[in-house]
């Protein structure tokens, strides 16, 4: 069995990417830490033939869902509560912090795309994130979601179709966060 250090080394970035996509930057770090702490606890019992990345993404998915449930129970702050982050620039991207190397290494998040992803039904959202951002094959996406690989593939395809509509210049209906409110001239 590999030293756990090496597991963090190999898969830490992908897990952070999944947490960033599902939760946005403010909660991603907590979810990452919760994920790897839970993984460390269970690691000696992990079966040797397991797909470690799929296993980690499963844990990250569950931690992110926990965070979203906590968020939905928490009082909603000003605004409609659907923002990924209060500090989103007018172009929909969160500006990268200048001085903090950790923030800079995360890079810029496209909050327009992520808001559209987060508006998807949960299965589609997870399938899209795990296949296109965590780079997992559909057999593993299915394992994460508890469905067959075919069902995972369908969920991802449905999600991509919905994103295509949501992100097209003319078809942004149903996504109030991606469109600025009209102002009086």
């Amino acid at each position: 069995m590999e030293p756990f250090d090496r597991v963090v080394e190999e898969h830490g970035a992908v897990v952070l990417r999944v947490c960033l996509a599902l939760l946005g930057p403010d909660e991603a770090h907590d979810a990452w830490s919760d994920t790897f702490l839970a993984a460390l606890r269970a690691y000696p019992r992990l079966r040797p033939d397991s797909n470690v990345e799929g296993w980690l993404v499963t844990i990250a998915h569950n931690k992110a869902m926990d965070a979203l449930r906590r968020r939905s129970r928490a009082p909603v702050p000003a605004g409609d509560g659907t923002e990924l982050s209060p500090s989103v620039g007018s172009d929909g991207r969160r500006p990268a912090a200048g001085d903090d190397p950790a923030e800079a290494a995360i890079g810029q998040l496209d909050c327009t795309v992520l808001a559209a992803v987060r508006a998807l039904p949960p299965k589609q959202q997870a399938a899209v994130v795990h296949h296109y951002l965590a780079d997992l094959p559909y057999t593993e996406v299915g394992a994460v979601l508890g469905t067959s690989p075919e069902a995972a593939r369908r969920s991802a395809a449905d999600g991509i179709a919905a994103l295509r509509v949501a992100l097209s210049p003319t078809g942004a209906s149903g996504l109030p966060t991606s469109r600025p409110r009209p102002r009086k001239r």
Partner: protein
């Protein structure tokens, strides 16, 4: 005013898609049949793959939380020294391993994962006293290590030999036959030699202070040159 002019940088610098091992797996992010209007590539670019710097603080936090939760079975770090970088590994019971560069630190960590626990992380807190005392030793400011030692990797007679070896003071040497005698088996000179050769915590359990009866320095886990350096360091002090 009301028109959206959002720009999206599709080729985010530093963005990389990790190579995937599964044969036949379609690379995500590429527009497949041109039927998604670039949605999959926009999606792939929406969260750039975080660089290693993004994980530095997170890994430090993980090590601290793992320590606090009692999940960090082996904490390790590398310490620079005049005889090359040393890997030190500390369990909850004490220093369990000091490894020379020629042993291959990655291989040593794998051995520790198998022999002690795979719950292994680089962590400063538990390894700091070891690093500090080694530094003091190499700079002539320390003659005795004041550290808990976990000798679980040595068993039976080898363990007895190492227990005797801890009594050999800075600047002194003993022969392999002296050591065998002290460990209670005067004829087990070769076994005493192999106990030294497999000492899991060299330097702190000072197997470099064991030399041949004819005065030649004999073998050393870190190579004869390292042994010569250590003996010279101690005789000069």
């Amino acid at each position: 005013m009301g028109t959206s002019t959002a720009k999206h940088n599709h080729q985010t610098p530093g963005h990389q898609t990790p190579g995937h091992q599964t044969p036949g797996h379609q690379t995500p992010g590429g527009s497949t049949a041109g039927d998604d209007n670039g949605v999959t590539s926009r999606l792939a670019a929406s969260v750039p793959m975080p660089g290693p710097e993004a994980l530095v603080a997170l890994r430090a936090r993980l090590a601290a939380e793992a320590e606090a939760e009692g999940l960090l079975d082996v904490a390790h770090r590398t310490v620079d020294s005049p005889i090359g970088p040393l890997l030190v590994a500390v369990t909850y019971d004490g220093l369990a391993r000091v490894a020379f560069e020629n042993e291959g630190h990655d291989e040593v960590l794998e051995e520790l994962a198998a022999a002690i626990s795979p719950r292994i992380l680089a962590a400063p807190r538990r390894t700091d006293p070891v690093a500090r005392q080694l530094d003091e030793y190499f700079t002539g400011r320390r003659r005795h290590f004041d550290l808990e030692v976990d000798l679980r990797l040595a068993r039976g007679f080898r363990r007895q030999v190492l227990d005797q070896l801890r009594l050999v003071d800075f600047g002194h040497t003993v022969s392999y036959s002296d050591l065998a005698l002290a460990a209670g088996s005067p004829r087990a000179v070769r076994a005493a030699g192999s106990a030294c050769a497999t000492n899991p915590v060299p330097l702190v359990v000072p197997c470099h202070r064991v030399v041949r009866s004819d005065g030649s320095i004999g073998q050393y886990r870190g190579g004869p040159e390292a042994k010569r350096t250590l003996l010279a360091l101690e005789s000069a002090a």
